[in-house]
C-alpha cells in the first residue's frame, strides 16, 4: 500500500518470496503431525492467496510483511488450522470418528484402542454428561456412565465436584484399592477352601435357563477368573505407581472392582454347581452385585469429595472469596 519501490506487478523480489516461504515453512513446522495432512490443502490455498495479494502490490519486503501480518503469527495460524480440522471438545471424542479403531458400525459403537485409565475414567464417571449409556471402553456396545446414573437417580447434581474426586482426601481414595483387594481375598479364600475337593471336571458356562452347558478341568476353570483379577489389580497398581489423577485412580479401582467381583462370582458359581446347585443363584445376583458395588464405590467417593469441597468453601465464606 505504502511501499514506493516500483516493481513489475506479479514478480516478487527473491527476498520477498523467501519471506513468504519461510512463513509457511514455520506454519508447517508448528502443525501437529496429526493435523498436517488435513491442513495441507488449506495452507496451499492460503499461500496462493498471499501471492495473489502481493501481485497487486509492488511486492516489496514491506508489502510481504503487511500481507503476512494479516494472517498473524505462523504458530497461531497453525493452531487455528489444527482447531478447524480437529474436534476441539474431548467429550465428543467418541461421537466423532477419531480413528478407524473407534467409531460406529451399524449403529453400534466400537472401540478397539487399548483402554487407558483416562478413557475408562471419562466414560464411567462423567456426571456432567446426561447420557447413561456411553460407548464401551473396549469392545462393541455400551458401558454405563455411573456419574449420569447417579445424577438421574437424584443422588447428586452434575456439578457437585469441580474435578471428579480431586478433593477426596488421599486416605479415602485408598478405598478404591481396598475394595478390589478385599474381593480378591474372597476369591483366594474360595480357591483355598474349595479347589482341592472340587471334582476333576467342573462347570464353566451356564445357558440362559441356568443349566451348566460347558465343562472344563478344575484347573482351567481358574484361569479366566485369576487372569481377570490380576489384570484388574495391575491396572490399579499402574494408576497409583504412576501417580495418575484422582479420577484415573478411582476409575481404575472401579474397573478392578468390577473385574475382581465378576471373577469371584464366576468361581463361586462353579463351586456351587459342583456342590449340586441346579440354577445360577450365585451368578446372576453376583453380576448385579458387581455393578452395584462398583456404583456404590464411585458414588461414595464422589460424595466424600463433594463434602470436602463444600466444607472448604463454607469455611472460607467469611472471607467472601470465590474460587
Amino acid at each position: 500500500m505504502s511501499a514506493p519501490t516500483p516493481e513489475p506487478v506479479g514478480t516478487l523480489a527473491p527476498e520477498a518470496t523467501r519471506l513468504v516461504e519461510t512463513y509457511f515453512a514455520r506454519v508447517h513446522g508448528a502443525l501437529l503431525v496429526a493435523a498436517s495432512g488435513e491442513c495441507a490443502e488449506t495452507l496451499e490455498d492460503l499461500r496462493a492467496h498471499v501471492y495473489e495479494e502481493l501481485a497487486a502490490t509492488p511486492g516489496s519486503v514491506a508489502d510481504v510483511d503487511r500481507v503476512l501480518a494479516e494472517l498473524g503469527p505462523p504458530e497461531r495460524l497453525a493452531a487455528q488450522c489444527a482447531d478447524a480440522v480437529e474436534e476441539p471438545s474431548s467429550r465428543l471424542e467418541y461421537e466423532e470418528k477419531g480413528s478407524a479403531l473407534s467409531g460406529t458400525l451399524l449403529g453400534m459403537p466400537y472401540e478397539l484402542r487399548f483402554p487407558t485409565a483416562g478413557r475408562v475414567a471419562s466414560r464411567w464417571w462423567d456426571p456432567t454428561d446426561p447420557h447413561i449409556l456411553v460407548p464401551r471402553v473396549f469392545g462393541v456396545g455400551w458401558d454405563v456412565n455411573f456419574g449420569a446414573l447417579a445424577v438421574r437417580l437424584g443422588l447428586m447434581r452434575p456439578d457437585d465436584e469441580d474435578v471428579p474426586f480431586a478433593s477426596v482426601p488421599e486416605r479415602y481414595l485408598l478405598v478404591s484399592v481396598l475394595v478390589p483387594l478385599l474381593v480378591t481375598v474372597t476369591l483366594g479364600v474360595l480357591v483355598a477352601v474349595y479347589q482341592g475337593p472340587l471334582p476333576a471336571q467342573v462347570a464353566v458356562h451356564w445357558g440362559v435357563t441356568g443349566v451348566a452347558d460347558r465343562f472344563a478341568s478344575k484347573g482351567s476353570a481358574l484361569v479366566l477368573p485369576v487372569a481377570m483379577t490380576i489384570f484388574g489389580l495391575a491396572v490399579v497398581a499402574a494408576a497409583w505407581l504412576r501417580r495418575r489423577s484422582p479420577l484415573a485412580r478411582v476409575a481404575s479401582g472401579a474397573l478392578a472392582t468390577m473385574l475382581c467381583s465378576i471373577s469371584a462370582t464366576a468361581y463361586a458359581q462353579t463351586v456351587a454347581t459342583a456342590y449340586g446347585s441346579s440354577d445360577v443363584g450365585i451368578l446372576l445376583p453376583g453380576l448385579a452385585g458387581s455393578l452395584v458395588v462398583t456404583f456404590a464405590l464411585l458414588v461414595t467417593l464422589s460424595r466424600i469429595g463433594h463434602a470436602a469441597e463444600v466444607r472448604r468453601d463454607l469455611d472460607d465464606s467469611t472471607k467472601g472469596s470465590v474460587r
Binding site: 471438545s89 456432567t128 456439578d159 468453601d313 465464606s317 470465590v322
Partner: protein, 115 residues
C-alpha cells in the same frame, strides 16, 4: 447429510452457548440450576442441563469462571458461578466479536430474514 447439518448446527451452537453463559454470569453470579433455567427461557438456543454443565466445567477449567459453595435458604448448599477477571475480559472480547458477526450476518442474510 442430515447428520452433517446437525453436526454443524451443534458446533455453531456450542460457541453461542458459551457466550450466553458468560453473558448471563456477566450480569451476576448464579448457581447451576438457575443458569439452566434462565437459558432454557430462550428456546432458540436449545439449551438443556446436558449442554450447560459440560460447558461450565470447561469454562472453569479454562479459568474463565470461578465457583463457590454457598448455603442455600432452601435445601443443601449451592455451587455459585461467577466470571473471573479473565472471563470478564473474554466476555467483552467475545461480545464485541459477536456484534461484528451479527452485523455482517444481518447484512448478508437480509434483515427481513433475521429480524
Amino acid at each position: 447429510m442430515g447428520n452433517d447439518t446437525d453436526g454443524r448446527l451443534s458446533q455453531f451452537r456450542k460457541g453461542v452457548v458459551e457466550l450466553a453463559i458468560l453473558a448471563l454470569l456477566h450480569r451476576g453470579e448464579a448457581y447451576g440450576g438457575e443458569i439452566v433455567e434462565r437459558l432454557a427461557g430462550h428456546p432458540g438456543l436449545a439449551i438443556s442441563a446436558g449442554t450447560v454443565y459440560p460447558l461450565l466445567s470447561r469454562l472453569k477449567k479454562a479459568g474463565l469462571i470461578d465457583s463457590l459453595w454457598r448455603e442455600s435458604p432452601v435445601g443443601p448448599p449451592r455451587k455459585y458461578y461467577r466470571l473471573s477477571v479473565a472471563g470478564d475480559l473474554e466476555f467483552t472480547a467475545m461480545a464485541k466479536a459477536w456484534e461484528g458477526v451479527t452485523d455482517a450476518m444481518d447484512e448478508l442474510l437480509g434483515t427481513e430474514v433475521t429480524r
